[in-house]
């Protein structure tokens, strides 16, 4: 028993260190967002200060600290939502049938095709951004939601296809065959049997794809204008030529991260696999 | 090789119940013992305690007379057989067998002598220069065994080594193990859940259930003289027919009348029953017993007009043709009795048949203790 207690102590210590490592930057940003302009830049950094909501109020166009650009922070936030949601929606419509086909059907060059989709993820975005910029200017896609959602498919589509393929493959094909011989058409089988069984996987891949889209920076920067730029790019506007508004940036970061946190926590329980195992093994 | 002794060995994993409850048995030098039981019966735990991979909660384990309770597997010098043979592919058969001795820093001459001795005893002298890759399964098994035997282990331990061998060659793999045991005189302890494997290989079988040893005996002991109802039901295929009855012994007649329908009874004239059996059964006069008869010993005949010793009339439900023999299932008062028959029988499903068992093929069990009434 002594031995196990000692072990437990070590485990807790390790977890504590890991927790500090992960949470320190987050704590720092949150603290910064509640500091006044002077407290933010004070050296050595202050751990005890009078918290202020000025930064948050300013982000929404209220309060006394002014924004550098004419647009409000809220519009960046809205852009991010539209872009990420739109991209994921398009990816699911295109990607789910593709993933099912890769998982279940036999056709020529299946693996090569699947790999081609995955390879989109290998190419650094920076290498294609200039030609894309030219093409987008010509096609009038520059600074449009449509244009950005299309280019975001490079991020979300391969991801969704590969994640969902493996979730579909985990569902034993015999369950589908059973439902078919039990008198259900392919469509009904898919929506009544396959999709509910894959639901945790679908939810998980959707959220992860959403997060990847939300976090993207370079596409928004190069192919979006002031009307369409997402939060990640918007943060840049707090950096002026002669002043960086650290407090505002921190507050904006906190707000930008909140949707991700909520999403990640809400699907945490769906990440648990093994729902299908009991019936077949 | 050495004698293995277990004395009141317990294992507790922290639960209320012990996983192994007082295992006591002896495996003589050169004997082949098989631990048999359903999954979770404690057989693998027992083997692991002998190996030293698992500590023992209480009791004593002796290898060759030496108490080894607190020794590591290396110190116990036991050999474990691996399912995959675990031969080293870049080494020849000779080098594979020599390897454990080289690790022990033995002299070249001694190594050479030992390798050739062991190889000769397992008839693999002619393949010493070959590499494992080109060997047949049986040869690999011998090489793997030779490598274990060369360092003269105290005991050879095997945990379901044939579970991944295809069913159609398993009987040959068993023949190989059995043959190797005969020529090597190794002490072997073998774990399996498969009764066919157990009786095929063992000199004696240790039957376990729920952490308790149920019976230790030769395959024929288990089959003809099962110690209790568990062994009777577990050993044999199909399982023994067991019927709850009430026993009476008077008027020159032994009657086992069915508890579900007292007018159904197995009757035997006491004049044909040995004295010892009568005396043992007398103690159960007017008491419940479980009547047991193996399907191999229950004869299926045309219904007799006059009921003779030990027979009942039933209705034939189905008969299975199984090639070399057949199994008939007959119903008596809602109870299905099974009997082994010839491949085909002159009866149809639905026919009335007589089911009879000679007294010497019948076993009686005490339902309170579940033990067989011995005589």
């Amino acid at each position: 028993m002594k031995e196990t207690k000692g072990k437990l102590l070590l485990v807790y210590l390790g977890m504590l260190l890991l927790g500090i490592y992960i949470l320190a930057p987050v704590t720092w940003i949150v603290m910064m967002s509640f500091k006044s302009k002077i407290d933010v830049i004070s050296v050595p950094p202050k751990f005890i200060f009078t918290p202020t909501f000025d930064n948050y109020l300013a982000l929404f166009g209220l309060g006394k600290v002014g924004l550098l650009t004419g647009t409000t922070f809220l519009s960046f936030f809205k852009n991010s939502l539209i872009l990420a949601l739109g991209s994921v929606l398009l990816s699911i419509v295109l990607g789910m049938p593709a993933a099912y086909a890769f998982a279940r059907l036999r056709f020529k060059a299946k693996e090569s095709l699947a790999f081609t989709f995955l390879s989109f993820r290998f190419v650094p975005e920076i290498t294609i951004i200039l030609p894309l910029y030219v093409i987008y200017q010509k096609l009038n896609l520059y600074n449009t939601y449509t244009g950005l959602i299309l280019v975001y498919q490079l991020i979300s589509l391969p991801f969704i296809i590969w994640m969902m393929r493996s979730y579909f493959e985990e569902i034993p094909v015999a369950i589908e065959q059973a439902a078919r011989t039990d008198g259900y058409s392919w469509g009904r089988t898919f929506f009544r049997m396959v999709l509910p069984l894959a639901a945790p996987g679908v939810a998980a891949s959707l959220v992860l794809a959403f997060i990847f889209c939300w976090n993207n920076f370079i596409f928004g920067l190069m192919l979006g204008g002031t009307n369409t730029q997402p939060v990640t790019v918007g943060l840049l506007s707090f950096m002026g030529t002669n002043e960086v508004q650290w407090g505002l940036m921190a507050a904006a970061t906190v707000i930008a991260v909140i949707p991700l946190m909520v999403l990640a926590l809400s699907v945490q329980r769906y990440m648990v696999r093994g729902l299908t195992l009991g019936a077949v093994k | 090789m050495a004698k293995v002794e277990l004395e009141n060995v317990h294992k507790n994993y922290g639960a209320k119940e012990d996983a192994v409850k007082g295992a006591t048995f002896t495996c003589e030098d050169g004997e082949f013992i098989v631990l048999l039981g359903p999954s979770g019966c404690g057989k693998t735990t027992t083997l692991r305690m002998i190996t030293g991979l698992e500590s023992i909660t209480s009791g004593t384990i002796r290898l060759g007379g030496r108490v080894v309770n607190n020794l590591t597997p290396q110190q116990r010098n036991v050999a474990m057989a691996f399912e995959t043979y675990a031969l080293y592919p870049p080494l020849t058969v000779y080098e594979n067998i020599a390897f454990p001795l080289q690790v022990m820093k033995r002299s070249k001459a001694e190594i050479d002598k030992r390798v050739h001795e062991v190889a000769a005893s397992l008839s693999i002298s002619d393949i010493l220069d070959k590499y494992p890759e080109g060997l047949a399964g049986g040869q690999k098994q011998r090489v793997s065994l030779a490598r274990a035997l060369v360092r003269e282990p105290t005991v050879f331990l095997m945990d379901e080594p044939l579970s991944h061998v295809d069913a159609d060659v398993r009987y040959r793999a068993r023949a190989e193990i059995k043959h190797i045991h005969t020529v090597s005189h190794a002490t072997m302890i073998y774990v399996t859940h498969d009764q066919v494997e157990a009786v095929a290989l063992a000199d004696r079988v240790v039957v376990m259930d729920l952490g308790v040893i149920q019976q230790i005996g030769t395959p024929l002991d288990l089959y003809y003289r099962p110690a209790n109802l568990f062994v009777a039901g577990f050993i044999g295929e199909p399982p023994m027919n067991l019927i709850p009855c009430n026993l009476t012994l008077d008027g020159g007649m032994l009657r086992a009348s069915w508890q579900s329908r007292p007018d159904l009874e197995w009757r035997y004239q006491t004049e044909n029953i040995p004295e010892t059996a009568l005396r043992a059964l007398q103690a159960h006069h007017n008491r419940p017993v479980v009547f047991g008869v193996r399907p191999q010993r229950l004869a299926l005949r045309a219904p007799d007009a006059a009921s003779s010793d030990g027979s009942l009339t039933g209705k034939l439900l189905v008969h299975e043709f199984l090639g070399k023999d057949g199994i008939a299932q007959a119903e008596v008062d809602g109870t299905v009795l099974e009997c082994i028959t010839a491949p085909s029988i002159p009866f149809q499903a639905g026919d009335l048949v007589s089911l009879s068992a000679a007294f010497e093929d019948v076993l009686f069990f005490d339902p309170d203790t579940t033990r067989r009434i011995e005589y």
Binding site: G278 | L220, G236
Partner: protein, 358 residues
């Protein structure tokens, strides 16, 4: 209730031909068993009947109608899968109800409840109706999957190795239970297995598949007593049939290729020509152990395995191993000398090149 006819179906996967001109039929109410080693094409054949796969050539007739390309839901077949394929998110009750609520079946609510009740009692799973599949034991899952097929009145039942995942003891007792159940049901059934005991026990007729080809399609007893090919003999029997290559000499004797033994085949020589190269098949249950000096084969006992009331004796003669099933009373031990008596009427002769029975 229906008839089934499979007419020369073929199918291949990635250049491997899984089925080659497979033909057989199944009469109304017949229990047909397809047996073969793994990879023989058994499941593919069954899938083509169910409609979850389609043959590249050939025709499947159900009740006289060509259903070769019909989707599974239009065929009205019930299938029991090797992996059980229970719906994991449904309770046992809902698993049983699922086929009864399909768009194609019309059952009143009271009829559905009554069927579920009847089938779950028949299979002794009525205490488990509210459980989820993952809360069941192997044997119970297998019963539920049987139940899901039995609640319907399909044209035909398809069983894909339904009990091969169970351990030996449970498998044997399930087989006997299926045999009993079979006596009270009369649906047309196609049953796939690799276990010859299931085939012999359950089948009215048996199709033996090997590497995508039908080797024998016959009455059950004929498949055991008159195997049409080496592979059929190998499949039916435990321990399996032994095979020896050899030649027929001028006196109609079979001479083993290493000349370790010969058998006077004059009384069983129909179709055998002098000089013909043949394969001799012998069942370990058909040959007898004899004292040294008698019988056609002389050798040394290699190992003795107890089989309760019998013994499986392996005898080594020159480099050949012989298996003999002997009564336990015939006490021999390793190293003893012994002979084997091979009655000529138990010899099966096969052609050396085609592997077909002579």
């Amino acid at each position: 209730m229906a008839t089934l006819e499979i007419d020369r179906i073929s199918k291949s996967f990635d250049s491997v031909q899984a089925l080659k001109n497979v033909s057989f039929d199944c009469k109304n109410g017949e229990f047909l068993v397809i047996v073969g080693p793994s990879g023989a094409g058994k499941t593919t054949t069954l899938n083509c009947i169910a409609g979850v796969e389609y043959p590249e050539m050939g025709t499947v007739y159900l009740d006289g109608q060509d259903v070769t390309m019909a989707p599974p839901q239009d065929r009205d077949v019930a299938m029991v899968f090797e992996t059980y394929a229970l719906y994991p998110q449904f309770s046992v009750r809902d698993n049983l109800i699922f086929p009864l609520r399909s768009p194609r079946s019309r059952h009143s609510e009271s009829d559905i409840q009554e069927r579920v009740q009847r089938v779950s009692e028949l299979l002794s799973i009525d205490m488990l109706l509210e459980r989820l599949p993952r809360q069941l034991s192997q044997g119970q899952r297998q019963r539920v999957s049987l139940g899901r097929a039995l609640v319907r009145d399909p044209k035909i039942f398809l069983f894909d190795e339904p009990i091969s995942h169970l351990d030996a003891k449970l498998r044997n007792s399930m087989r006997r239970e299926l045999k009993r159940m079979r006596a009270s049901l009369s649906q047309t059934t196609v049953y796939v297995t690799h276990d010859y005991l299931e085939a012999l026990s359950l089948g009215d007729r048996v199709v033996v598949l090997f590497q995508g080809e039908v080797l024998q399609f016959d009455q059950t007893q004929m498949v055991y007593n008159r195997p049409a090919a080496v592979e059929v003999g190998l499949l039916f029997g435990d321990p399996p049939m032994m095979f020896f290559q050899g030649k027929i000499d001028d006196q109609s004797h079979f001479v083993c290729e290493d000349e370790s033994f010969m058998i006077d085949a004059r009384d069983n020589a129909v179709g055998l020509a002098p000089g013909q190269e043949v394969i001799l098949g012998l069942r370990p249950t058909d040959v007898r152990l004899a004292p040294p000096g008698s019988g056609q084969v002389q050798g040394e006992i290699y190992s003795v395995q107890n089989q309760f009331d019998r013994e499986l004796v392996t005898l080594k003669a020159k480099e050949q191993l012989f298996d003999i099933v002997a009564p336990v009373s015939y006490a021999v031990t390793e190293g003893d000398k012994a002979g084997i008596i091979i009655p000529v009427e138990v010899c099966y002769f096969f052609d050396k090149t085609t592997h077909r029975a002579i």
